[in-house]
């Protein structure tokens, strides 16, 4: 049986008395697009840095494709941690050249590989420009190109769409999806953008205060929610809020101006009738499917 792409057992890292990562267990199988979720400060970046060997950890075991040596396990792995950094005075091509040499590629192999990754991220025509002049989106793409040097089996992406405009976010999202589907690369992506993760990942882990709160296949987590979810719109939202506060079996998931999303075992007709009895006149009642955001909120509340 093939070893897991990533296996983390009991990973613990403290800063003074605070445990940034607390006995974390993760298993990422080859071929997964694995979402690593958590609110800001949950310990995602610390965990990723420990996994990638950038910072030491207090306890735990980490193996990638069965290799646990801190240096050797990075073989066949590419990573983009936060905003990728480049030598601004050098061209995109030279930045990739030095990265290729660091990756152990030389001569014609390095040249071919650089041309391939530049083409893959659509930066071939800007390769001779100094990276100082690159936009954030271009830097992100060049970072992915650098991570792809040497045809890695696994790619780590830490908040890959941070700071990008909607077009840039879509570009990166499409690229990640394409890498997983066409290049068959296992992807481990950390993000706090839940819709983005739901769109591209097949498995997720949710981290809070350094602890794993939920983990599993996205479909299974969405299906495991149980009760249906309704989006309610009332002519008088205050009256609706007051009525919902009276019911123990109705859970308010989100409360925004446009609609209040609730979860309950009641049927739509029964819910409507009960609200009517409470003096609330509904302008709309729609049944919604559970989103990753709901799973996330349940896990971290």
């Amino acid at each position: 049986m093939e070893a897991a792409a990533l296996e983390v057992r009991g990973l613990t890292r403290s800063y003074g008395a605070r445990k940034a990562v607390d006995a974390l267990d993760l298993t990422v199988q080859a071929g997964d697009v694995y979402g690593f979720l958590g609110p800001n400060g949950a310990g995602k970046t610390t965990a990723m840095r420990c996994i990638l060997g950038l910072i030491p950890y207090d306890a735990g075991e980490i193996a990638m494709f069965g290799e646990s040596d801190p240096v050797e396990r990075r073989r066949g792995v590419g990573a983009v941690v936060e905003t990728p950094a480049f030598h601004g005075w050098m061209s995109g091509l030279d930045n990739l050249k030095q990265a290729a040499w660091y990756a152990g590629l030389s001569g014609k192999t390095a040249d071919t590989e650089i041309a391939r990754v530049l083409d893959r991220v659509g930066l071939s025509d800007r390769r001779d420009d100094r990276t100082r002049g690159y936009s954030l989106g271009m830097k992100q793409r060049l970072g992915v190109a650098r991570a792809l040097l040497g045809k890695p089996r696994m790619l780590f992406l830490d908040e890959p769409t941070n700071g990008l405009d909607p077009a840039g976010m879509k570009e990166v999202r499409d690229l990640v999806r394409s890498l997983a589907i066409h290049d068959r690369i296992t992807v481990f992506v950390s993000s706090h953008l839940l819709a983005e993760v739901q769109a591209i990942c097949n498995r997720v882990a949710i981290l809070q205060h350094g602890k794993l709160r939920a983990e599993g296949a996205v479909d299974a987590l969405l299906a495991a929610g149980g009760d249906p979810i309704y989006a309610l719109r009332a002519e008088d939202p205050e009256a609706l809020r007051a009525a919902l506060a009276l019911a123990d079996d109705i859970r308010v998931l989100t409360d925004e101006d446009a609609a209040i999303r609730v979860q309950t075992a009641r049927k739509p007709a029964a819910l409507n009738a009960w609200l009517h009895d409470q003096g609330v006149s509904l302008a709309g009642l729609a049944t919604e499917t559970r989103s990753l955001e709901d799973v996330f909120m349940e896990a971290v509340q």
């Binding site: 840095r49 990638l52 060997g53 950038l54 910072i55 030491p56 240096v71 050797e72 396990r73 990075r74 073989r75 792995v77 590419g78 990573a79 941690v81 990728p84 950094a85 480049f86 030598h87 005075w89 050098m90 030279d94 050249k97 030095q98 990265a99 040499w101 660091y102 990756a103 152990g104 030389s106 650098r146 991570a147």
Partner: protein, 273 residues
């Protein structure tokens, strides 16, 4: 992991830095300036003690190269470029987070640090070589091939070894402070003050011998060649006395080894942002 490839990557980064190019130009300028000044002097028609300057000064190509080496090192000189480049190569890359990108590759940290040291040493060799060959070319054309070439070449080679020690110190301070500015400022100030302390000790030891001073004090003052700035300038003893000052050479070796050991051990457990 291929160490030569890591060195190649570091060389690409280093030699493309504007400060590295300016440093090489400055080295060439110092190398050329001394023979050109000598040419100006002997052809100035100046009369010294009733004698024409051409006869009064015995100048050869070697003298100008030796003087260029002194100028290059006074008090920090071209070595300031080496300190700046060393600080940029480690502390600068740590702060700019480009070091992180390299460490994401399957390379051990000691190899990254050593590759930077080798690349900086090769830049220094290029810098010394430009000064030496540039100066030698002009000097030979103007004054011929006379002179103590072996001692001069030895001094230049020793200067390179001494600079490797300085690079080790720069890397060690960079690993410790993690700041480019702190590394550059602390080392330049340290080397200037240390050189002044060395001069003060030399002066005091000479003065102490003229008066009745206790033997331990004189012995202590005579240890000035072991101070870092004197130790990393051991080549000067070869030129001045045509002999090795083993106290100085040993001190340079010791400082280099300690700095390297410290840098490697400290970096092994350092957090990389």
């Amino acid at each position: 992991m291929s160490f030569p490839l890591l060195v190649q990557a570091e060389l690409l980064k280093l030699f493309s830095r504007p400060s590295a190019k300016i440093g090489l130009l400055a080295s060439l300028a110092v190398g050329l300036a001394l023979p050109l000044l000598a040419i100006l002097l002997v052809n100035s028609g100046m009369v010294v003690n009733g004698v024409d300057a051409r006869s009064a000064f015995s100048v050869d190509a070697n003298d100008t190269l030796v003087n260029a080496l002194y100028v290059r090192s006074f008090p920090v000189g071209i070595r300031a470029f080496l300190i700046i480049l060393g600080a940029q190569a480690f502390a600068g890359e740590l702060a700019a987070r480009t070091l992180r990108e390299d460490l994401l590759r399957p390379v051990p940290r000691w190899a990254v640090l050593m590759a930077k040291l080798v690349a900086l040493a090769l830049w220094d060799a290029a810098s010394l070589g430009l000064g030496f060959f540039g100066g030698a070319l002009v000097g030979i054309v103007a004054f011929g091939t006379e002179g103590a070439w072996v001692a001069t070449a030895l001094a230049y080679s020793l200067a390179l070894l001494c600079d490797v020690g300085v690079i080790a110190i720069v890397l060690a301070i960079g690993v410790l402070t993690r700041s480019t500015v702190a590394t550059i400022a602390s080392l330049i100030v340290f080397f200037v003050l240390d050189k002044m302390l060395g001069w003060a000790m030399l002066f005091a030891s000479t003065a102490a011998m003229m008066f009745t001073t206790s033997e331990p004090i004189i012995r202590l003052l005579n240890q000035w060649p072991a101070l870092p700035s004197a130790a990393f300038g051991s080549w000067a003893f070869v030129l001045a006395d045509n002999d090795w000052n083993w106290v100085s050479v040993s001190a340079a070796g010791l400082y280099t080894a300690l700095a390297l050991l410290f840098a490697l051990l400290w970096f092994r457990r350092s957090e990389v942002p």
